[in-house]
C-alpha cells in the first residue's frame, strides 16, 4: 500500500519534471518571471537586514562626544572625569586630548598639511562617552545636563543618525511588506493562469480519467506538483539573483570601504531565511495551482 502510494507520487513527480523539460522555453520564462518578481522583495529584505545589522552594532551603546572649552585647564579635565565616573548612566568614557585628536586627524586624512599650516592646534580636548541604552528622552536629558557643565562647550549626540536610520528602516520594511504581498499575489495569478491553460489542454485526459475511476486528488496531483515545482524554481531564481547582486555589490564595496578604513561587507540571506524563501515560493506556486484547479476542474464533468 505504502509502496503503491510512493510509486504514484514518484511517477507524478517524474511526469511533472518531464513536462517541464518538454517545454523548456515557456517554463523557463514563467520561472524567470516568478523569480524576478520575488527577487525584488528578497533584495529589499537583504538590504534592510544589512542596514539593520549595521545600525544595531552601533546602537547597542549610545555614544556622545563632549567637547571641552578651549580655555579649560587640567583641573577642569579632572573635574569632568570625576563627574563622569560618578554618573551611573555612563558605562565608560575615553579622554582624547587635543594633541591626540590632531595626530589622528593628520594620520587619517589628507588634511595633514592644512593642520600644519594653521600653526596652532584648533581642536578642543574631548571625551567620547558611552551611556547605557535608554529611551531617547532620558538620553536627551543626560545630554542637556552635561551641556550645562561649566567646562563643556558642546555635547554631540553621535547616535542621532541611528534613530533616523531606524525610522527609515521601519518605513522601508513596511514598503517591502506591501511589495511582497503584491508580488505574491502576482505570482499566484501567474500560476493560476498557467494551470488554467494546462487544464484546458488536458481536458480529454481529465475527462477520461474521471470516467475510469480517478479520484479528484489523483487528477489534481500533477497540477499541484507542477505549481509547487515551478514556485520552488522561481524561489531559487530569486535566491540566485540575490546572491549574485550581493556578490557584485561586495566587490564594489571593497573600493569604497577601503577609503573609510572599514571592512564592512554586505551579508547574504541567512540559511534560515533562504530556506523560508524556498518554502514560501513553493507554497505560492502550490496555492496558485490549488486555486486554479479548484475553480476549473469541476467544470470538466465526465460524459
Amino acid at each position: 500500500m505504502m509502496r503503491a502510494w510512493l510509486s504514484q507520487h514518484g511517477y507524478v513527480l517524474l511526469f511533472t519534471l518531464k513536462q517541464l523539460i518538454a517545454k523548456p522555453v515557456t517554463n523557463i520564462c514563467s520561472i524567470l518571471v516568478m523569480g524576478i518578481a520575488l527577487s525584488l522583495p528578497v533584495g529589499a529584505y537583504t538590504l534592510i537586514e544589512n542596514l539593520h545589522a549595521l545600525s544595531g552594532q552601533v546602537a547597542d551603546m549610545p555614544q556622545m562626544s563632549l567637547f571641552v572649552k578651549t580655555d579649560a585647564n587640567s583641573q577642569d579635565i579632572a573635574n569632568i572625569k570625576q563627574k563622569l565616573e560618578s554618573d551611573e548612566q555612563i558605562i565608560d568614557f575615553q579622554y582624547i586630548p587635543k594633541e591626540t585628536a590632531l595626530q589622528q586627524l593628520q594620520q587619517s586624512s589628507g588634511l595633514a598639511n592644512i593642520a600644519h599650516h594653521l600653526g596652532h592646534n584648533p581642536l578642543p580636548d574631548a571625551f567620547v562617552v558611552h551611556t547605557q541604552k535608554n529611551t531617547a528622552q532620558v538620553l536627551e536629558q543626560l545630554r542637556t545636563d552635561m551641556q550645562n557643565w561649566p567646562e563643556i562647550e558642546f555635547v554631540q549626540f553621535d547616535s542621532d543618525w541611528i534613530e533616523r536610520l531606524n525610522a527609515i528602516l521601519d518605513l522601508s520594511r513596511a514598503v517591502m511588506f506591501m511589495l511582497s504581498i503584491l508580488l505574491s499575489i502576482a505570482i499566484i495569478a501567474i500560476m493560476f493562469n498557467t494551470i488554467r491553460l494546462q487544464i484546458l489542454t488536458k481536458r480529454d485526459e481529465i475527462e477520461i480519467s474521471k470516467l475510469i475511476g480517478a479520484t479528484d486528488s489523483f487528477i489534481q496531483r500533477p497540477f499541484l506538483y507542477f505549481g509547487t515545482i515551478q514556485g520552488l524554481a522561481g524561489g531559487f531564481v530569486a535566491w540566485s539573483i540575490m546572491i549574485i547582486s550581493v556578490n557584485t555589490m561586495n566587490h564594489k564595496l571593497i573600493d569604497l570601504t577601503q577609503l573609510y578604513n572599514s571592512d564592512f561587507q554586505l551579508h547574504y540571506l541567512s540559511l534560515a531565511d533562504s530556506i523560508s524563501l524556498l518554502f514560501f515560493s513553493a507554497w505560492l506556486g502550490w496555492l496558485g495551482a490549488r486555486i486554479s484547479v479548484a475553480s476549473h476542474l469541476w467544470q470538466i464533468e465526465a460524459k
Partner: protein, 217 residues
Amino acid sequence: MITFKNVSKRYPDGFVALNNANLDIATGEMVFLTGHSGAGKSTLLKLIATIEHPSSGIIAINGQNIAQLKPAAIPYLRRKIGFIFQDHKLLFDRSAFDNVLLPLQISGFDSQSMAARVRAALDKVGLLKKEKSMPVALSGGERQRLCIARAIVHRPMILIADEPTGNLDVEYARDIMTLFNSFNQVGVTVLISTHDASLLEDTQHRILTLKQGKLAA
C-alpha cells in the same frame, strides 16, 4: 450483481430515455442489450457507471444503491467496472501501452506489477506488438481492441461495452465477441449493447430489448 428497480431517466430537455425500467443481472452473467438507436441503450449503461444519474428509481450494484453514492465514492465504483466506450475515448497523446496503463495508475498499482499487467492485457487483445504505437497509427478494429484492453487491465467485476462492434466488419466483430465470451468464462459479468442483429443470431446469452424506455426480455 446489477439491479434496476423502476428506474426512469428524463433529460432536462424533456426526452425520456428510460421509463420505469426493471432489470436484474446475476453475477457472472453475460447479457446483450438491443434496441434501435436512441432507444436509451447508452443511457442505461451510463447509469450503471454513474456517468448519468436516474431521475427516479433504485440502481443497485452488489446490493449497494448507487443513486445515494457520495461523489467521493463514485471513483471507487467506477474502478469495479470496465467500460468500453462507443467513441473509444483513447488518449491520442500517448502510446497504446500508456493508454492501457492509465487505469492501473488511477487505481494505484505499484509500478513493478503494472507493466506486466499492461502487457498481459495487450496480449489478450492481440496488440502486444503494437504497444509502442500511437492510437492514430492504429486501425479502427485495433483501437476498439485497445479500448477493450484498457477496460480489462485492472480486472473489473463488470464489463460494459457500448456498441463494441459498431463500425467493424463481420470478421472483426466475431473476434471481439469471442474476447467477451472468454472474459465471461473467467467470471466477469458482461453487459453489451448492440443494434447489430447478426451478433445475436447464434448466442446462448440473454437478450434484453429496450423499446421506448421500457425493457423486455
